[in-house]
């Protein structure tokens, strides 16, 4: 039996994947009891840019790092509204994410139409999980190559859910997925006890700090590459992009980065990283390169 070993470089990690005869079909088990196609699909999630979700006793927040495929293109939207009380942040195949988002939206609309009430998060997750599971057990389908972070607020309070291509879904206090998200998860684990009692603004700052930890040293959070979604008690979903993000970035201390060598920056919101000419405080640091970490020539648009 032939075995090929292929290495895939992603950031600072070296992934070694064994290609063997059990991985061409999602309906074929490996002798170790694994479905390799599902595991490969989960790799797609790790290729997408990072996104963080965190909840307090009253609010649920999502923040996401938007990626631009080139300097000419706009930053890809990462957070999609599902209903007045639910938003989802995606990591992986954007096209797959849109299919799932459309499904979630129709489920929410049907609940509103037939029952005149907002769909409970646990009900929604079960339906999404059931839908994603079908794709892991049919020979004519492939698993959804996207991981979702859902933030929602229902009669049981705020929720953060994570979904995987394996169709598992997890109820979380806080979570981060996507490229270099381990750093974010480390931040979240360290500050886990603070989230429950955080105020609305503190919660967003925690999420942004966690997200910031996934960035390479020479990249900063800007209003172009950052998206924020928040929903909570007495507050319908709001999604902040571009200038709306500024007040929340301002509250963030840009200098205090884990292992970061941040240049001298004042409290003004930084402009887009490529607009180097306008920066007057770029005394020591050269203008940072674009935030695009996508390997060149990659045909699979993962965001």
């Amino acid at each position: 039996r032939h075995q090929n070993i292929t290495g895939v470089v992603d950031g600072s990690q070296l992934l070694v994947m064994f290609r063997n005869q059990y991985d061409n079909d999602v309906t074929v088990w490996s002798p170790q009891g694994r479905l390799h196609q599902v595991e490969y699909a989960m790799e797609a999630v790790k290729q997408g840019s990072a996104t963080v979700g965190v909840k307090s006793s009253s609010h649920a927040v999502l923040v996401a790092l938007k990626r631009a495929s080139s300097e000419l293109a706009a930053h890809q939207k990462k957070i999609m509204p599902i209903d007045k009380h639910i938003a989802v942040s995606i990591s992986g195949l954007t096209a797959d994410a849109r299919v799932l988002s459309r499904f979630m939206r129709t489920e929410c609309l049907n609940e509103q139409f037939a029952h005149n009430q907002a769909l409970s998060l646990n009900k929604l997750m079960e339906r999404v999980g059931a839908k994603m599971q079908i794709a892991t057990q049919r020979y004519d389908k492939r698993p959804y190559g996207v991981g979702l972070l859902l933030a929602g607020f229902d009669e049981d309070g705020p929720h953060i859910y994570q979904t995987c291509p394996s169709a598992n879904y997890y109820d979380c206090q806080a979570m981060a997925i996507g490229a270099r998200s381990q750093s974010a998860r480390t931040y979240l684990e360290r500050h886990l006890d603070e989230f429950r009692s955080s105020t609305r603004e503190e919660l967003i700052r925690h999420a942004l700090r966690a997200l910031r930890d996934t960035l390479p040293n020479d990249v900063e959070l800007t209003n172009k590459n950052c998206s924020i979604a928040i929903v909570g008690k007495g507050e319908d979903l709001s999604i902040y992009d571009d200038d709306d993000v500024n007040p929340y970035l301002e509250g963030l201390d840009q200098e205090e980065r884990r292992g970061g060598a941040g240049g001298a920056r004042d409290a003004q919101p930084p402009a887009a990283p490529t607009a180097a000419a306008e920066e007057d405080d770029a005394a020591s640091a050269p203008p940072p390169p674009p935030t695009d970490e996508q390997p060149q020539g990659d045909s699979m648009e993962t965001d």
Binding site: F113, S120, D156
Partner: protein, 228 residues
């Protein structure tokens, strides 16, 4: 969508009025236990009122078979929620909305469920009382009734409310029993055995096998010519 099939457009075994009202501290619902076969008082222990969840109760007048069918469907709906581990049980407002959609859809297909339903219970900590009928008419009100109840019971309740806006539990029960008594006097298809449901924030209590025969006074019958 005309397949040439036609469906029955008349009830066979039917139930008569249902009466409901909102009082200070809950909602009350009453219906008698008669299944009429046209003018024949055929089945005298038909339960037309049932508890859906701790937040909702449903009573129907009209075709009994259609009521039993929709009851099975709703009970399965509740079972699905329980099996799915959902924390929010079906409340009266959601049930009312869902029932409206189902009944309207059936009527639009010319295959109606021949029912007039009253949904009683709680929605988001507020007492809820709603009406849905076979053509999909739906509304919420503080007092609601079907069939003859609309003509006899609702004016009685409204008159009582004019004197006192918020009725207590005992006052509500007395009023409701009085309504059913009047309906028994005046509605040919009514009977003296009945059920009463009381929905409070604590839950739903159904009183079965109640009997108002002892409270009726038929002395006046002697003055009606042709009685003897």
């Amino acid at each position: 969508m005309n397949t040439g099939k036609s469906h029955t457009m008349y009830p066979s075994t039917s139930g008569t009025s249902v009466v409901g009202l909102v009082y200070d501290g809950g909602v009350m619902l009453a219906a008698d236990s008669l299944g009429s076969y046209g003018s024949l008082a055929r089945f005298r222990d038909v339960k037309r009122l049932f508890k859906v969840t701790d937040k909702a109760a449903l009573a129907c007048s009209g075709d009994i078979a259609d009521y039993q069918f929709i009851r099975e469907v709703i009970e399965q709906k509740v079972r699905d929620d329980v099996c799915g581990g959902y924390t929010r049980e079906l409340n009266a407002g959601a049930l009312h909305c869902w029932l409206t959609r189902v009944l309207y859809n059936r009527r639009s297909r010319f295959d109606p469920l021949w029912l007039e339903c009253v949904v009683a219970g709680y929605k988001d900590d507020e007492p809820f009382l709603g009406y849905v009928d076979k053509i999909g008419t739906a509304f919420e009100a503080k007092e609601v009734a079907t069939g003859f109840g609309l003509h006899f019971a609702v004016p009685m309740i409204r008159e009582a409310r004019e004197k006192k806006q918020n009725l207590s539990c005992d006052e509500a029960r007395k009023l409701l029993t009085e309504c059913l008594k009047v309906l028994y006097y005046r509605d040919c298809r009514a009977h003296f055995k009945y059920q009463l449901a009381d929905i409070t924030p604590e839950g739903v209590t159904i009183h079965d096998d109640l009997n108002l025969k002892k409270e009726t006074n038929w002395e006046v019958a002697n003055y009606i010519s042709g009685y003897e």
